[in-house]
């Protein structure tokens, strides 16, 4: 497998992981919205309510930064990162 193919395989793996986490917090948990809302979540809000106000939203922010860092590492590993800085 060429370097480029390996790089793409790893990138695809990261994509799948990112999308899996995304799926859980944007779709998965809301399949059980009614049941989850019986539980008290962070700061004392009902759990599902908290996810819709803050939880899922905040997790998406962290997820994107995590994804960006991991992808940068993959690019560096194969010597595909850009020259110069931003």
């Amino acid at each position: 497998m060429s370097k480029q193919e390996q790089h793409w395989e790893k990138s695809k793996g990261l994509l799948m992981m990112t999308l899996a986490i995304w799926f859980v917090f944007s779709i998965g948990i809301f399949l059980f919205g009614a049941e989850m809302n019986e539980v008290t979540g962070p700061f004392g809000y009902p759990l599902t309510y908290w996810f819709t106000c803050q939880g899922s939203l905040g997790i998406f922010v962290l997820l994107i930064f995590w994804f960006a860092n991991r992808q940068e590492k993959i690019d560096e590993e194969f010597g595909f990162s850009e020259r110069g800085d931003d």
């Binding site: 309510y49 939203l57 994107i64």
Partner: protein
């Protein structure tokens, strides 16, 4: 100021700007103490901020194609994040979102999840790859990746349908705010709004829009957060509302159980002015089926990843790496406002319905409520209404009606904040609507000037001529949008959601598969864009004209049907026709790697 090492000085420039804006707020509040009228304060806020944007727009003027189309590709990550957040958060987010949460609770909050979750798709599936591509516009990517004028043209069509649906709503919102703040009729205010919008974008294109959007973000976020924190502190609900409103949320649930949701008869509801609603849904309980929630969130997420005015913001970063990080910053800046909207809805609702609070009106006598100053003001503005349906002389929960906008616009006044806050909120709403309208008009005008005029009609046109065409189109599209907005055909929020559905119907899969599926070819992409858009639009028309729909897909989520058709059409047609040639396959390989030259040159 904008010349030389402007980029290095950005934190300083915008730091001074923010300080200046805060000083302006303080001066206004002193002026209010000294007797300046509410109307003058409103005019000052809107006029002062719009003048600043116009100055920034003028200073950013340019005669270069890459500065005009992609701001010279030198916008740093954090600032691009702010600009994207302003681009993204429209008048609807600013004025209508808290109201939607106030009235509909959980079912509506699918929009919050959808409008943020979509950025994960933007960051992981599209933005960095399109940045590597080096395109000026979204159709530029479609046209180069798949080849042929027809695919490029189809992309322009989808972009125009989606963005134009969106932009009329934004011009409408600037008109509404300008007409209230400047006290002029709506038909004229729409054009005042339009001219303000064009001042930011006409001379500098994307460069002008970028730097005004950063300025607009600063105004709109201060205008949103300051009242939320202030009201929360004033009510004694907690100094940091986001972490401290659990008691208030459970108190609302308690009151809801105590009052009950009494259903009004159709006859009684006829009395209520159009556009106003009562509280009929639980605040924090799950009040929608899983599919209703998930389908709406999913449609908004896929729509986010297909809207060209958002995508093109990531063409302006210096590198692929910066584009990825910039998506994270965008969402962070959006999160600041979106996570505050439910808090504002909670504070607003509790302050109105809790009889134990001095501002609470439920349980008071109708005559007493009707004599409150703020009630009279907002009743006159057609945003509040009470009526004694059961004739017992006391106001019940089901006898109080309010417009969705009132949650943001009236809550400061109800909580007893000085008028200066209301002026600030008007400036914030104006900033939110203007920044989105600018991004949208620019997306349409750039696509038509670059992709239709330059790439298809006259590929030999000189830069100067191209930029004249781009500017003329900007004005024409702006006026077309304003003319339709002046007719007041559709509500703000409804047409915003439709724009997402149109965009995802036609563009989501052609964009994503363009990067992630090498086998996707021209014929497939054209079929995907055409059949996706047509089937989505047909479904919308069918449901609007009395059709029952299927699988629970409503007029707000028709993009789910449209994009499914688009996916099937694209895969089937691609596999039935020839694979893309070796050069195209190699191009896709190069797009997948950050290093190396972009596919399209710096000037193209």
């Amino acid at each position: 100021m904008i010349k030389g090492n402007f980029i290095d000085n950005l934190p300083k420039v915008y730091g001074i700007y923010t300080g200046g804006f805060l000083a302006f707020i303080i001066i206004m509040s002193i002026a209010e103490q000294m007797g300046m009228t509410a109307k003058t304060i409103g005019i000052c806020f809107v006029a002062f901020t719009v003048a600043i944007y116009a100055i920034i727009g003028y200073l950013s003027r340019t005669a270069q194609a890459d500065a005009y189309y992609v701001a010279g590709r030198q916008v740093p990550t954090v600032f691009n994040g702010m600009a994207t957040a302003a681009d993204w958060m429209s008048g609807a987010s600013f004025v209508a979102m808290a109201g939607g949460i106030y009235f509909k609770g959980y079912g509506y909050m699918a929009l919050l999840v959808g409008w943020t979750g979509g950025y994960v798709l933007v960051a992981s599936l599209l933005a960095p790859y399109l940045r590597k591509f080096g395109c000026y516009t979204v159709p530029d990517f479609i046209g180069t990746r798949y080849g042929g004028n027809l695919s490029r043209f189809m992309a322009v069509v989808v972009l125009t349908v989606a963005s134009f649906t969106y932009v009329t709503a934004q011009i409408n919102a600037t008109g509404t705010i300008a007409s209230v703040a400047l006290d002029i009729p709506f038909q004229y205010a729409v054009y005042v709004g339009l001219i303000s919008i064009l001042l930011c974008s006409m001379l500098g294109g994307m460069r002008g829009v970028t730097w005004t959007q950063v300025a607009q973000y600063i105004v709109l976020i201060i205008a949103y957060l300051l009242p939320v924190f202030w009201i929360s502190n004033k009510m004694g609900a907690g100094f940091f509302p986001h972490f401290m409103l659990a008691d208030e949320v459970s108190r609302i649930a308690e009151l809801e159980a105590q009052f009950g949701f009494v259903k009004n008869s159709a006859e009684n509801l006829k009395e209520v002015p159009k556009g106003l609603a009562g509280i009929t849904k639980a605040h924090s309980a799950v009040n929608a089926t899983p599919w209703a929630f998930i389908s709406l969130a999913l449609a908004m997420m896929m729509g986010t990843a297909s809207l060209p005015h958002v995508m093109m913001r990531y063409f302006t970063t210096p590198s692929v790496k910066a584009a990825r990080k910039s998506v994270g910053w965008s969402l962070f800046f959006i999160f600041l406002l979106y996570s505050s909207a439910p808090m504002l809805a909670t504070l607003s609702k509790l302050s109105l319905i809790d009889p134990s609070l001095p501002t609470g009106i439920i349980g008071k006598s109708i005559a007493e409520v009707q004599s409150i100053d703020w009630y009279q003001n907002w009743n006159q503005a057609n945003l509040m209404f009470v009526s004694d349906f059961n004739g017992n002389g006391t106001l019940e929960l089901n006898e109080f009606f309010m417009g969705g906008k009132a949650v943001v616009l009236a809550t400061p006044e109800i909580a007893g904040l000085p008028y200066v806050i209301s002026g600030l909120v008007a400036a914030g709403g104006m900033a939110a609507a203007m920044s989105t309208a600018d991004g949208l008009i620019l997306a349409i005008a750039n696509a038509i000037s670059h992709d239709v005029y330059y790439k298809i009609i006259d590929p030999k046109a000189e830069t100067a001529k191209r930029l004249v065409v781009a500017r003329v189109l900007l004005v024409v599209i702006g006026f077309a949008g304003a003319t339709i907005a002046a007719l007041e055909i559709q509500g703000i929020l409804g047409s915003v959601i439709w724009a997402f559905d149109f965009a995802m119907s036609g563009l989501f899969f052609p964009l994503v598969l363009g990067v992630w599926w090498k086998r996707a070819n021209k014929e497939g992409a054209i079929a995907g864009m055409f059949l996706g858009l047509v089937s989505g639009a047909a479904y919308l028309i069918w449901v609007r004209t009395g059709g029952s729909g299927f699988l629970g897909i409503t007029q707000l989520t028709f993009g789910i049907f449209g994009s499914a058709v688009s996916l099937v059409a694209m895969v089937v047609v691609s596999l039935m026709t020839q694979a893309p040639n070796a050069a195209t396959q190699k191009m896709v390989d190069e797009v997948r790697v950050p290093a190396g030259k972009s596919i399209l040159g710096k000037q193209h």
